[in-house]
């Protein structure tokens, strides 16, 4: 469904990402792990069209989406829950969700709003509250719900558990399970490597801008040479 080949992204003179290859098949939950500064966020940002690509190609759902505008990539069915959530803090929860569904028809949007409230009951209580007043866990749920509002074929999440209390981290991983059981395709960047590998069908390990290993979650958990990568995150 998603195929990244030979992707290189540069920040000035530094190659933040070198020759990265990655695939995500339909219905898969794929993890992307590695220490800070490994290029995980750069990889997601490049796929989503936020960062200029120096070399390589990205294909999604049969179409070439290399160097395409972010709004066009979203419209092709690929959504990103960005790092630090980036919710619109002056806008209400309802307005945030509506923006997430801006590409859908009004009638469909109303149905999706109901669906999100069912999936994330906490959003109902904060419906008319400016999103900036939400706690970290609530804001993360809003950020994910907002991305789901576009009915993505593939949803990418950048560090959904970052900065959350342990109990909320549990909630995020439960949520990943729920989304998987709904048959959704997910690509997740996670600092919490061990837990990610337990949940993921497959995973890629990034280090210093390069993909250094890939395999099923179980295979990677048994690779002792990658141990420093897991705890170093």
């Amino acid at each position: 469904m998603l195929e990244v080949s030979g992707l290189t992204t540069a920040y000035g003179a530094i190659n933040a990402l070198r020759d990265a290859n990655l695939t995500v098949g339909e219905g898969e939950v794929v993890g992307l792990i590695g220490p800070n500064g490994a290029g995980k966020t750069t990889l997601l940002g490049s796929i989503a069209g936020l960062l200029p690509i120096s070399a390589g190609a990205i294909h999604f759902d049969g179409a070439d989406i290399t160097s395409t505008a972010p709004e066009k990539i979203l419209r092709s069915g690929l959504a990103l829950v960005p790092e630090h959530r980036r919710i619109f803090s002056d806008m209400t929860v309802e307005e945030n969700l509506k923006i997430g569904g801006i590409t859908t028809k009004a009638s469909e949007r109303a149905e999706l709003l109901d669906e999100m409230v069912e999936l994330f009951p906490v959003l109902r209580d904060k419906w008319d509250t400016p999103a900036g007043y939400m706690s970290g866990g609530e804001a993360q749920q809003l950020a994910i719900a907002r991305a789901l509002m576009s009915k993505p074929k593939l949803i990418m999440m950048d560090e959904p558990s970052l900065g959350l209390a342990p109990i909320l981290v549990d909630l995020v991983f439960e949520l990943l399970d729920t989304l998987r059981s709904q048959g959704r395709t997910i690509l997740v960047v996670e600092q919490n490597a061990t837990r990610m590998l337990e949940v993921a069908d497959r995973a890629y390990v990034l280090r210093s801008g390069e993909v250094v290993a890939d395999g099923t979650g179980r295979e990677l958990l048994e690779r002792s040479d990658l141990f420093d990568t897991f705890v170093g995150g």
């Binding site: 979203l74 980036r86 619109f88 307005e95 509506k98 923006i99 801006i102």
Partner: protein, 295 residues
């Protein structure tokens, strides 16, 4: 007391026009960090069209829509020809581009139409007044205040209740994230310029009526008042822009009435001193918005 009331109405009338201009400046600034020094051209261009229209037998009934439509089209054209090319550039680059647009447009009028003042008739009711007790209220002020109130209410509805309004606010808050949600950057920027042009057009109707004439540099004053009002209110804040416009209008009228005879010509100077004082105590303006660093 009567004099104060009279001044308040007078000031609100002036301030309403500034508020509409400032709101147009703020809408564009919010979305692309462009402080548009060419905003006044949205009055100069319709001003010349007004002059042309009256020479061709038009009346105010048809000139009013002409002013509004031409302001919207001018705003969109200027975006297309100039600002779309510097999108995402440094704020200073965009600022200089807007200066460039201003100078090119006024030089164009100077070259092809000339420096001479081009007059046209004011509407017949322009100087009418209504007496309420000891008050003499200008009908023009009442019309301006009334129309502005309706326009502001409609703009609020647009921003709060429509998907276009939501997209505009989201893009102003965080442009990249809005695009990640599927907000089309071209449409939202063009929409902002159309709205900015519409507001300038409505302000322009009153400005052009009041002036009764047009020159190549007719846009400088409305641009300055609009930009100043937006700065006073807090650049980027739409509520602030409206507030800034009203405050600026009231300050001008009240100062003129309170300053001793003989130094009333210094009103503008005093207004600037007050603005300087405001920025010393509130550098971000009356309703400053926290500046989020853009990536």
């Amino acid at each position: 007391m009567a004099e104060l009331l009279q001044n308040l109405i007078d000031g609100l009338g002036r301030g309403s026009i500034y508020a509409l201009l400032a709101l147009g400046v703020a809408v564009v600034f919010g979305i692309m960090h462009l402080l548009n020094f060419a905003h006044g051209e949205l009055i100069t261009i319709p001003g010349y069209l007004t002059y042309w229209a009256f020479n061709n037998g038009w009346s105010w009934w048809t000139v009013v829509p002409l002013i509004i439509v031409s302001a919207v089209i001018s705003s969109l054209l200027i975006e297309r020809v100039a600002f779309s090319r510097v999108r995402g550039a440094k704020d200073f680059t965009m600022l200089l581009t807007s200066f460039g647009v201003h100078f090119i447009v006024s030089a164009g009028f100077l070259l092809y139409i000339g420096a001479a003042v081009k007059p046209y008739p004011r509407p017949g009711w322009f100087a009418d007044t209504i007496s309420v007790g000891s008050l003499n209220i200008e009908v023009f002020d009442l019309v301006v205040i009334g129309v502005t109130a309706v326009v502001l209410a409609a703009t609020t509805w647009l921003l709060q209740r429509t998907m276009f309004g939501l997209a505009l606010r989201a893009a102003a808050a965080d442009f990249d994230t809005a695009r990640l949600m599927g907000v089309n950057s071209d449409s939202v920027i063009r929409g902002a310029f159309a709205l900015s042009g519409l507001l300038a057009g409505i302000a322009g109707v009153f400005w052009i009526m009041r002036e009764g004439q047009v020159t190549p540099t007719a846009g400088i004053n409305p641009m300055l008042q609009g930009v100043l009002a937006a700065l006073i209110g807090g650049l980027g804040s739409l509520r602030g822009a409206v507030l800034g416009g009203l405050v600026l209008g009231l300050a001008e009228v009240l100062l003129r009435s309170w300053l001793p005879v003989g130094i009333q010509n210094l009103t503008t100077g005093f207004v600037f001193v007050m603005i300087a004082l405001l920025f010393i105590f509130r550098p971000g303006g009356l309703l400053s918005v926290p500046q989020v660093e853009r990536v």
